[in-house]
Amino acid sequence: MKKAIFITGLLFSIIGIAFAQTGVKKKRPLPYEFGRVVINNYSEASNIAPVVFDHWLHRAKFTCRLCHVDIGFAMTAGASDIKARDNINGYYCGTCHNGTRMFGDTSAFSSCKEESGSMNATCDRCHSLGKNVTRKYDFREFVKGWPKERLGNGVDWEKAEEQELIMPYDYIEGVSIKRAKLVVQDDFKIVSKVKGMPNIIFSHEKHTVWNGCELCHPEIFVGIKKGLTQYSMVSIYEGKFCGVCHNNVAFPLLDCQRCHLQEVK
Amino acid sequence: MVHIKKILSVFIIALTVPVLASAADYSESLQYLLPPAEYFGQVVLDNYSQKAGVSPVTFDHWLHRAKFTCRLCHIDIGFAMKEEMTEISAADNVNGYYCGSCHDGKRVFDGREIFDSCAEDYTENEGKRCARCHSDAESGARKYKYKTFSEKLTKLPGNLIDWEKAESEGKIKVTDFLEGVSYKREPLKAQDDFSIKTKTWTADVIFSHRKHTVWNGCELCHPLIFPSTKKGTTQYSMKQIMKGEYCGACHMSVAFSVWLCDKCHITPVKQ
């Protein structure tokens, strides 16, 4: 009986790994593609090209918290269930993309419109999958001269902010709540179980500056005490825990040394 | 029953003797399994070439292999590990990605300027430059020939270049860092070598982390090719390797061929 259970368990774990598409490498997104999300809850069904959202532009202008907590976007493509009507009603993309909200001296172009029917050039600015749309901002021009890093977008976002090349908004009038000042939690060490791999130094400060608290707790990290939630690199690669962000928007997991910082003597 | 088992195992062991003894004739049989040495590691890239009216690109690994680590191209620059998976377009090269990271007409390497890759428009004159990549390997448009290049290098059975020896003998010098492409990192401690138990009569495999990380770093294999960090979690067979998974991602096409069994199956046969 025990043997049967063990074998079944082993088989399932093998199958699990098999479905995880291992053993072969995939194409790595180029710097301008990294962080790309395709949103297609209703577009195709409405005979419109699905939305292609590249994180990098918004990443340079707003904190993660603003969109994912204040506005309320989900953290996986399609999970927000955004409809054109939601945008028209002034939520989700429509929170800012209403043609009137100003950021500096530019206004965010109006998203979805009341009149259904023919698409126009403005619609194409987002609904661009499969189309040859020239975006307003060119990635290379945008990040020219910025401090560079390897992998991901190829940009050192941290340094860019330090050097005030980017100054992300963290508050939108009429949308964000006036909250109490953030109280930063301690940094801590996560011990790596693989012999020889340096321990991870996790910086709460760096994460909360952009994310606040609610983005990670408890949805992504549910353990209330350090050590309660045990996870391995395998689950991280599958897009859980650290992988929710560090698989496709924040610096990618390929960059081992960005986290594995503390040499184990 | 026991008798039959004994007889069978003796028979099988007896079979392996002539096979092992004919190791000297090994390379002769390899010719049926491997392509000619100069084509070993060749990759044909045709995501867009023929559609654009140019010959597909044939990329021979051996030249770049002698000058750069695997890590530099496959991690720092970001080439995929499978033919046509990178989906390189001329625009990408012109913008300084992929081939264009080095082939930009400006970067100096080995005392020479590296020729420019794709251009927005090209004239007939420039066609010669295009043909350096967009051509068949034997078309005569290539600068370096395998035969002359590999003459002085130690060979493996099948006339393949023994890259390990080439490096240890100082005949090739491999670059791992390119300015503007690579970023300095604290080197991760090289993991231990370990043995992989085989489930058949073949010798166990001794896997050398040290040898692999010298050329590949960690990221090339982990996590996409080998997702687990705990030995034994990922189970795979020679069948999968032959399909280009796991070890086969490199050792079926570019690194020493999987047909050279005794390069990996090193420990003595189990008694």
């Binding site: 907590v69 204040d70 309320g72 989900a74 927000s80 269930d81 409809k83 009507r85 939601d86 009603n89 939520y91 989700y92 709540i177 006036k178 909250r179 109490a180 000042k181 953030l182 109280v183 939690q185 606040g212 608290c213 609610e214 983005l215 707790h217 408890p218 949805e219 549910v222 209330i224 005490k225 | -």
Partner: protein, 112 residues
């Protein structure tokens, strides 16, 4: 005298709990409309302390969680042209803040 006082008292009570609806009729809608908008204000008040949730006391966390649960019920009953969108959006926003308070509460209770 006493009877007059009693009459006034009963009249007062009736007016407050029953008569108001008829006498002040029109303004009841305003009250209701205000209530409709009030829930957003309530949301802003409840979730204003997420950035320092760990500093709040157990009692305050419990209070905010309770208020959040009540507010969620109000959100579920929203009506009007924006209702579908607002239900979806505010359910998500409120959930994040309510769950964070719950997380902080669990931490504090576990510590004790």
């Amino acid at each position: 005298m006493k009877n007059i006082a009693r009459l006034f008292f009963i009249g007062f009570l009736l007016f407050n709990f029953w008569g108001r609806g008829f006498i002040v009729g029109g303004s009841l809608n305003t009250v209701y409309a205000q209530e409709q908008g009030d829930w957003k204000q309530e949301y802003a008040e409840i979730c204003a302390k997420t950035q320092n949730a760990m500093e709040l006391s157990v009692a305050e966390l419990k209070d905010r969680i309770e208020r959040a649960d009540k507010l969620q019920e109000r959100i579920n009953k929203l009506e009007g042209p924006l209702a579908e969108t607002e239900k979806k959006v505010f359910t998500k926003r409120l959930k994040m803040c309510r769950e964070l308070y719950s997380f902080a509460l669990e931490y504090k209770e576990h510590k004790e």
